[in-house]
Assembly symmetry: C2
Homo-oligomer: 135 residues x 2
């Protein structure tokens, strides 16, 4: 099995926030929603059920940690947590802060609204703020 | 805090499969996709992060158990696992077997295709088959 390498599409669509014990945390480059990804650094993994049991438990705790950090950092009416992977199979978990006035509410975000660019430096500033909370 | 009661919308949209330690397992009445719900029997819960840590770990293991049962029971090219709750806030986790030829592929299923009714007795038969695997 080769070493873990982040999927190129995920890498292009997001910027790094921090590294947790199991997962890389990344911020999606879409200003419509505060939208994080957790990517477990396990090569070849596609489904949550195919993680080992200890890794699954770590992933769940990292989902909770990131959810809490997101909720404390941005305004959020609801969290959306999802592992879909129909287009990008590398296992990744979306953790999204939803707002009743966001571009897709109450629908799921995937494919719902055209991507909106962050202003210069804004995504990096949010990623840094989240990283400090996740230390 | 009142006792747990299943949300009326979830109850109307699904039929019972089995009861696990934490969650009720239900089959959505939509023949487009083999589509299960896990509903932790905790009153007032909305977000995964608001479950206690032991409950979160149990939920993760129930997600894995149900994922495996679904994969062994129906044809599946990809699992989709999601806690959204924008419309029905009671915490529920979708576990859906996706197929490359299903009604929404590769898009998420929510709102993607009109609900398709199961033939008479078909949903109950699938629920019973899944329940046997989950014993």
């Amino acid at each position: 099995m080769p070493d873990f390498a982040l999927d190129q599409q995920l890498a292009a669509d997001s910027l790094p926030v921090t590294e947790l014990a199991l997962s890389s945390v990344r911020l999606m480059r879409d200003a419509n929603y505060p939208w994080l990804l957790l990517v477990p650094r396990r090569p070849g993994l596609v489904e949550i059920v195919d993680l080992t049991e200890p890794d699954r438990i770590t992933l769940m705790e990292e989902i909770a940690t990131v959810s809490q950090a997101l909720r404390e950092t941005v305004r959020s009416d609801k969290l959306n947590v999802a592992a879909l992977g129909n287009s990008v199979p590398q296992l990744h978990v979306h953790v999204v802060a939803r707002r009743r006035d966001d571009a897709a509410w109450p629908n799921p975000i995937w494919g719902a609204a055209p991507r909106r660019h962050y202003a210069e430096g804004e995504a990096e500033a949010l990623a840094a703020k989240l990283a400090r909370r996740l230390k």
